[in-house]
Symmetry: C3
Subunit: 115 residues, 3 copies
Amino acid sequence: MTIKRMEIGPIMSRVVEYGGVIHLCGLTADDQSQTIEGQTQQVLAKIDHYLAEAATSKSRLLTATIYLTDMSMKDAMNEVWKSWIDRDNPPTRACVGAVLARPETLIEIVVCAAR
Amino acid sequence: MTIKRMEIGPIMSRVVEYGGVIHLCGLTADDQSQTIEGQTQQVLAKIDHYLAEAATSKSRLLTATIYLTDMSMKDAMNEVWKSWIDRDNPPTRACVGAVLARPETLIEIVVCAAR
Amino acid sequence: MTIKRMEIGPIMSRVVEYGGVIHLCGLTADDQSQTIEGQTQQVLAKIDHYLAEAATSKSRLLTATIYLTDMSMKDAMNEVWKSWIDRDNPPTRACVGAVLARPETLIEIVVCAAR
């Protein structure tokens, strides 16, 4: 079975597909001056973008791991998350607190999806 | 290939099956007044429950990620873990420290299993 | 479909293969007196070792999750990482800060690969 890699950079591929499963790299917001709501929206838009590139969509998400710098921001993140997901087809999810790339990075999300 | 989702809530599915692999959401204890031993037992009982719902069992576990609020509790968690797993068929595992949903949440576990 | 487990210990399997995907447990350095560069090299050598045992190699990596005790060490880790990966075939990656097994444990990596 072949492995399909997209957006290959010096450190990682942004997208890797194998066996009908599409893995996305950990995604953070480009504009990290924004609040948790804004950063979450940016990350979810990136997920939409990469899923489309891999010919799938959020309705085919399997799992999501959400890392938050400050778990007190979880409720605010959840509001953006709930309005974004396909209500009939949400992935499994885990949300934990972790130190992220930079102090101003408030959220990082890793997902995998079916093709 | 179809995706099968179980226990769909407003934020996530508790169980997602695709391609013969069953993904469970991050699970925490319901009674978080308990010690790490008690919370671990509750989480492992939930894993048993959801795996049964997906027509599989702990002997078919592939991977486990264990998040602990306090890594000094790892040995105590391990005793409960070791008496629970199928000794002939343990999953791969990673155990790291992370901030969890609430201060009293001592453990969260994410697993995937084969059907 | 059968599950193949390798290096089964009392807590986990080091390697689990299912459906053409090989999962490795979370790996840390044996000599944790070393710097982040040395610990990263040790972990990557272990990954090479277990991938070979599972009859695959780093050019077939699908995903990597890197946990660092101190995110200020990310750039130093990245230098070792970049010289190790197959530049044409890197996995997806997420790198987050987390408390690890012992205070001197600077890095833990979890990967999965295609057979």
